[in-house]
Amino acid sequence: MLQIKPILAALKRHKAGTILIALQIALTLAIVCNALFIIQQRLDRIARPTGMIETDLLTLQNRWVGVDDEKTGPLIRADVQAIRQLPGVEDAISINSYPLRGGGWSTGVRTNPDAKKSETHTTQYFVDDHALATMGLKLVAGRNFRSDEIVEMDPKAVVASSQIMVTKTLADKLFPDGSGLGKVVYVDDGTKPSTIIGIVERLEVPWNSSWSDTFLDNAVLLPYQLTGGGTSYMVRSKPGQLAAITKSVPETLYKLNRMRVIPSERGVRTYDVVRAQAYKSDRGMAILMGVVCLVLLAITAAGIVGLTSFWVGQRRKQIGVRRALGATQRDILSYFMTENLLIGVAGVVVGALLAIGMNLWLVTQFEMARLSLVYVAVGVVALLLLGQGAVLAPAMRAARVPPVEATRSV
């Protein structure tokens, strides 16, 4: 550490190179911190549970052809019956939408019918008594719908149902003391009361973009079978039968009634595919940022190796003199390591400020969260270590310069 003063003096003679390395470290730190933060945010989104058991689950999109929207009720019932009877099928439902599908119903909920504004937002899923079994939801309080409670409903004429199931998140939001079961709420800005007869542990809304983040786990299940031009089916297969039913379900449906369209794209998807497609851009962004970070670190390291090698080459004679005057190989090694550490510290100080500034700017531009300082700390340590690692090879070469070099002219 006593070497700091002569190192600073030497660096003054190499201002440009010093500034360039420090600048490169600073910029790299700023970008790597923010990239790592973006990666973490995206991975967090991908890891969010839907509340369903996602294995052995198949989804289908169906659109009726040449039938009036109000008259599709019996057709949908026939479809669901036929699917449930297929070998390999555990259970099946018709539903308006499902988690990660995108597109669905959202509405406000109130506990007081006279309140002007709803207390929170929720999505609505229209299901029958088979939904819990098909989707693999966990009922934590109360009871499921009974089959005699299920009503056929025109989507244009949906009114509040007297009995509903809700997610635990929504129940706790409306009744923070945890007494949601059996209470009355008002859905869809109506004045018709709905009694909470069951609470499911978790069920996500159909959207996964940021606009629904505020009510991600708020869902109401209504005992309605919607008619209308299009519907989604969800089918749970018996264990290991998913591949078989992925083929047999659409075949059966077409056999039952040809006047329908099951789109070739996204018409029949296992839930794994639904999840992969829904989070494609989040996953891709995480991969892209990861690659950028790695290449960036590699380039910064290469830059440090390049410039330090140049300095070592330039100072062979001085190194020789120091060695001749009694400096050990260790002294020379630690000289270059310390020099790099000094530059690195200057770089990371500027870089940490840059990283925070860049994040603040991103926050104003892109609805991004604030950067956690943990990332800055991790980045600082990583870059200092990277610098030390990069400088090791040229520094060792410097340490091997023989004392006799002092006597040679260039």
């Binding site: 490169q24 299009g230 077409y254 329908r260 851009s281 892209l288 380039i299």
Partner: protein, 437 residues
């Protein structure tokens, strides 16, 4: 001299292969990352209808009131209610106008062995085709009289025409949509504006080309529900009639206004319309209206995906770091040759000539980096399908302009990076160099 300097440059590159490789790779990666993300950004921020983007306008009318608008920075809803869309259509104040919404009819092929097909479809007015510069292969738009007659006419896309009629001129023939026959008045030529400017609300701006247009009035007669978003601030009531009389918003409205005066006039008209609604007791608030042209509308709807912007920014930062890196390496490389520079200067070379030599040398490094960058950009453009939606990824292409830009950016950036090292090289004192030798 130029050729000689290039030769010198190449020789110097060979003399120090590791350093050269580092520089070329840094530039290559930096340029490739920037160009790949730029190709996506360029595609998503493209002006889809350059000739008319300042003449086509989306009017918005606040029919929900300040309480709802406050949740959206005071902006009116981004779609229109049926009541307002029909009010504006009736007043007919633009040069052309159309209300439109996505519908989902299915085409039932005449050949009974084929399954029904669904294509992306819209219900529009006759004006839409002229407004949006829709090109026709055969025939043309239906007439305004067809709008008034709620006629069963249809305009189909080239792809659908190929599928149903093997590409023959099908004008005047009929196709079956959901069990009802429609007379074809025109077959569009390939028409694929990206972003899909006329309905970013329901498509997020990108999607497959539209293959089917039917008259708006006909779609309403048949009670075709929207295949897009329907937003209500209160319960719409039960049934179709209640829905179209409700304040639910689900219609996109476009009008063509040829110049600034017309646009100003239309703004006044919109305010007047809203004031009229206030007087009649429908709105309980002062007029809150907007008029956006195409670029403003795409911007308002945030059509450029956040991923495209963030990744472009990160890549540009990446390029900047690569350039800082290059400055450092070039400095090392040039200063190593201080004695050589000293000799050249002593033999009579001017500073200008030193500048020329080293900038050209940097240029050759840049060119090599650019070629590597081009290769990597090719890989990158291929790889954007990993990151972006397929609808967006298909727009990112490695075309001539992108190739030229890649090389140009690489060379320019490297030469720019070389200015400081070159200046240092030119400062070398010949006497001092010769002395120390």
């Amino acid at each position: 001299m130029f050729a000689y300097y290039i030769q010198l440059g190449l020789r110097s590159l060979r003399r120090n292969p590791l350093l050269t490789a580092l520089m070329v790779m840094a530039i290559g990666f930096g340029v490739a990352a920037s160009m790949t993300t730029y190709s996506v950004f360029r595609a998503t921020s493209n002006n889809p209808i350059p000739d008319k983007s300042s003449q086509l306008f989306v009017p918005l009318i606040d029919n929900w009131g300040p309480e709802d608008a406050a949740q959206n920075k005071g902006e009116p809803p981004e779609a229109m209610s049926y009541t307002d869309a029909m009010g504006l259509m009736r007043d007919h104040r633009g040069k052309r106008q159309t209300a439109l919404y996505p519908v989902a009819p299915s085409v039932i092929p005449a050949d009974a062995s084929l399954l029904p097909i669904r294509e992306s479809s819209y219900a529009v007015y006759a004006d839409a085709f002229a407004m949006f510069n829709v090109p026709f292969l055969y025939g043309g738009a239906w007439q305004s009289a067809d709008d008034e007659a709620h006629a069963a006419t249809v305009v189909i896309g080239r792809k659908l025409n190929d599928k149903l009629f093997n590409g023959a001129n099908s004008v005047g023939r009929e196709i079956n949509l959901d069990g009802r026959n429609y007379r074809i008045t025109g077959v569009m030529d390939t028409w694929d504006p990206q972003p899909l400017f006329f309905d970013p609300v329901n498509t997020s701006g990108f999607g497959d080309p539209i293959q089917l247009f039917i008259p708006f009035t006909r779609a309403i007669d048949l009670k075709m529900a929207t295949n897009g978003n329907n937003n209500c601030n209160k319960h719409a009531g039960e049934g179709w009639d209640a829905w179209i009389r409700s304040e639910c918003v689900w219609i996109q409205y476009w009008t063509e206004l040829p110049d600034e005066t017309a646009a100003a006039g239309y703004r006044d008209y919109l305010r007047g319309y809203a004031a009229e609604q206030q007087r009649s007791g429908r709105f309980h608030w002062a007029p809150n209206v907007r008029l956006y042209n195409v670029p403003q509308w795409l911007d308002h709807e945030k059509v450029v995906p956040q991923e495209a912007k963030v990744s472009l920014l990160v890549s540009l930062g990446f390029l900047l770091i690569c350039l800082v890196n290059t400055v450092g390496l070039l400095l090392a490389k040039f200063m190593k040759r201080a004695p050589e520079i000293g000799v050249r200067r002593a033999l009579g070379a001017s500073r200008k000539e030193i500048y020329a030599q080293f900038l050209i040398e940097a240029g050759t490094v840049g060119l090599a980096g650019g070629l590597l960058g081009l290769l990597l950009t090719g890989v990158g453009v291929f790889g954007v399908t990993l990151v972006f939606d397929p609808d967006i990824a298909r727009l990112a292409r490695l075309n001539v302009s992108l190739i030229a830009l890649t090389l140009l950016v690489a060379v320019l950036a490297t030469v720019l990076a070389a200015f400081y090292p070159t200046w240092r090289a030119a400062q070398v004192q010949p006497a001092w160099q010769l002395k120390s030798n």
